[in-house]
């Protein structure tokens, strides 16, 4: 069951720019006029995770957003001597508890449409507060699927 909200082409091209060309670090999506998911902010390659979080919450406590981030971390497999660098894409739905039910409903029922348009995302995260959206929490989730 979905809301019928569509995804704009800009979202898909920006996503490809991150996935293939590594042009940006992250992108924030929002739902425009309750009709279409569109790009709000594009983060430069050298920006930090904190700036992503700030931009995600730029709308205030009553707003919801989606965020896509190209996350990098190092991972050392058991039995190997060198740590390897990993890059993973995650897509996050940000619906704070303080947001109006209408916003939460709109964003959560449209998340599926965005998921389907952006092919190749490794992890989907639903966040309602910072304990789920922080860098540590995200990294933990991404590492959970790595081999030890």
């Amino acid at each position: 069951m979905a809301s019928g909200v569509t995804v704009s082409d800009v979202c898909k091209t920006t996503y490809e720019e991150i996935k293939k060309d590594k042009k940006h670090r992250y992108v924030i999506f929002f739902i425009k006029d309750e009709r279409q998911i569109d790009v709000e902010v594009i983060g430069a390659r050298d920006e930090e995770y904190d700036q992503f979080l700030t931009n995600l919450q730029a709308g205030g406590a009553g707003e919801c957003r989606y965020g896509l981030y190209d996350f990098e971390y190092t991972h050392q497999c058991q039995g190997t001597s060198e740590a390897s660098k990993k890059q993973k894409l995650f897509l996050m739905s940000w619906c704070p508890d303080t947001a109006k039910v209408k916003k939460k409903m709109l964003y959560s029922s449209s998340f599926d449409a965005l998921k389907k348009s952006l092919v190749g995302v490794q992890k989907y995260i639903q966040a309602t507060d910072l304990s789920e959206a922080s860098q540590e929490a995200v990294e933990e989730k991404l590492r959970a699927t790595d081999r030890q």
Binding site: M1, A2, S3, D33, E34, S108
Partner: protein
């Protein structure tokens, strides 16, 4: 869009119906709360006034448009009056609509008295239980299009609505209602129906237990509707009240219903779930609660408050925590972390004091170490009791949602079986 017409949105007020065992919630989409909450029982009595004075029918709640042998009484004000030979019937069974004739009476009443508008102008969104049967969904679709001539119709699983209303597309929805508590995994807005777990422990079970306890204490449970006056008595004294003089005996079903209502009020005011499994020593330190029955009898309730509510959790197989863990365990291992990290609590019975704390504690002990538990429970009474209705209200008002409706045209072209394709 195949139909070329616009439904829902701001232009035409869509209606939202959320049927449950305790009540049916009815209202306009985009509003915050339902317009009305109608008890899910219908009173039926042989129509005597019909032959004597046929004109006064509409005044007293008779909603059947054509003359019939029976008179139907719907909604609290009409139900809570003792009437000769009035039997009460419930039209719900196992979370699904069972008696369609009665249900149509309720719909007639909703359109006439609450919506006060013609059914053909309003698209209708219905919520349904996650285990609703195909034949029942088709029957409802048929009734709405054929009898009520609605321009568009949609059916959504109530668990999906509750999850969305709490900002989650993927969630484990714990819905504790009147007749049962269920754990329903929702993935991207779709219910995983083979992993739904139900338990018959809900509000009605609590009422039953409370009733047994009150009966054993020999407390008079005469409903307020039968009492004309009462005196103030001292605590635990025999009540002195005057009963209304009736020249007939109210039917058993009516008495049962009214006593259930009386006990329900007691249950909601007094009962509390202990934080940890029931322990007499700990519980005896918590202040007792004073309660006065309609008959005027009153006393303090201490340990009983917790002992009764414990029934929801102490059962090894049917406790809320257990069914939640079982349901998650039946889902694919990949989505289990996502389910545990968004457990959504809804349903009127979850408002029993201490319910969410205890459930969260219970679940915490069952959550696998590698996963994080997060429980989301709306704070407001309205959001919790009408969670699915509120979700439906918003969904039906979203502009883009209008292309999702099943339209009258589609119904005429493809028939009722189309509902399974349009609203999975």
């Amino acid at each position: 869009m195949s139909t070329g017409m616009l439904y829902g949105g701001d232009e035409i007020g869509a209606l939202v119906f959320d049927p449950g065992h305790h009540s049916l919630r009815v209202g306009y989409a985009q509003e915050d709360t339902p317009k009305a909450e109608i008890p899910a029982v219908v009173g039926v009595a042989p129509d005597e006034s019909f032959k004597v004075e046929p004109e006064v029918k509409t005044e007293d709640g008779n909603v059947s448009s054509k003359p019939s042998q029976n008179k139907y009484y719907i909604d609290t004000t009409f139900l809570h009056v003792p009437r000769a030979n009035m039997e009460l019937h419930s039209y719900m069974k196992d979370g699904m609509i069972e008696n369609w004739d009665m249900f149509e009476k309720i719909l007639d009443y909703s359109y006439e008295k609450i919506i006060q508008s013609e059914s053909q102008y309003h698209p209708v969104l219905f919520s349904e239980s996650p285990w609703n049967q195909r034949q029942k969904r088709e029957k409802l679709t048929e009734i709405m299009f054929e009898k009520y001539k609605v321009p568009a119709f949609f059916l959504v699983k109530n668990a999906a609505l509750a999850a969305f209303a709490n900002g989650r597309a993927t969630a484990l929805v714990i819905d504790s209602g009147a007749t049962h508590t269920s754990a329903v995994p929702v993935l991207d807005g779709y219910v995983i129906s083979n992993a739904v777990v139900k338990s018959p422990l809900g509000g009605d079970y609590l009422i039953l237990r409370a009733r047994e306890m009150l009966d054993s204490l020999k407390i008079d449970l005469t409903p307020a509707a039968l009492i004309s006056a009462k005196d103030v008595v001292r605590e635990k004294d025999i009540p002195r009240c005057t009963r209304k003089k009736l020249n007939f005996q109210p039917s058993n079903s009516w008495m049962t219903y009214m006593m259930k209502r009386t006990v329900q009020d007691f249950q909601q005011t007094v009962l509390q779930v202990a934080e940890s499994p029931y322990d007499e020593r700990f519980v005896s330190n918590i202040p007792s609660v004073h309660y006065e029955f309609p008959s005027g009898y009153h006393q303090d309730f201490g340990n009983e408050r917790f002992k009764l509510a414990e029934g929801l959790f102490d059962h090894a197989m049917l406790g809320a925590g257990h069914i939640a863990a079982t349901s998650a365990g039946m889902c694919d291992v990949d989505i289990r972390p996502a389910l545990y990290s968004s457990v959504v609590l809804t349903g009127g019975n979850s408002l029993v004091q201490g319910f969410s704390d205890r459930l969260s504690r219970d679940l915490q002990s069952r959550t696998p170490g590698s996963m994080k538990l997060k429980m989301i429970a709306a704070n407001g009474t309205v959001e919790r009791r009408f969670g699915a209705w509120v979700g439906g209200s918003i969904l039906a008002s979203i502009g883009t949602f209008q292309q999702m409706w099943m339209s009258m045209q589609e119904y005429q072209e493809s028939g009722k079986s189309q509902i399974d394709r349009k609203c999975p």
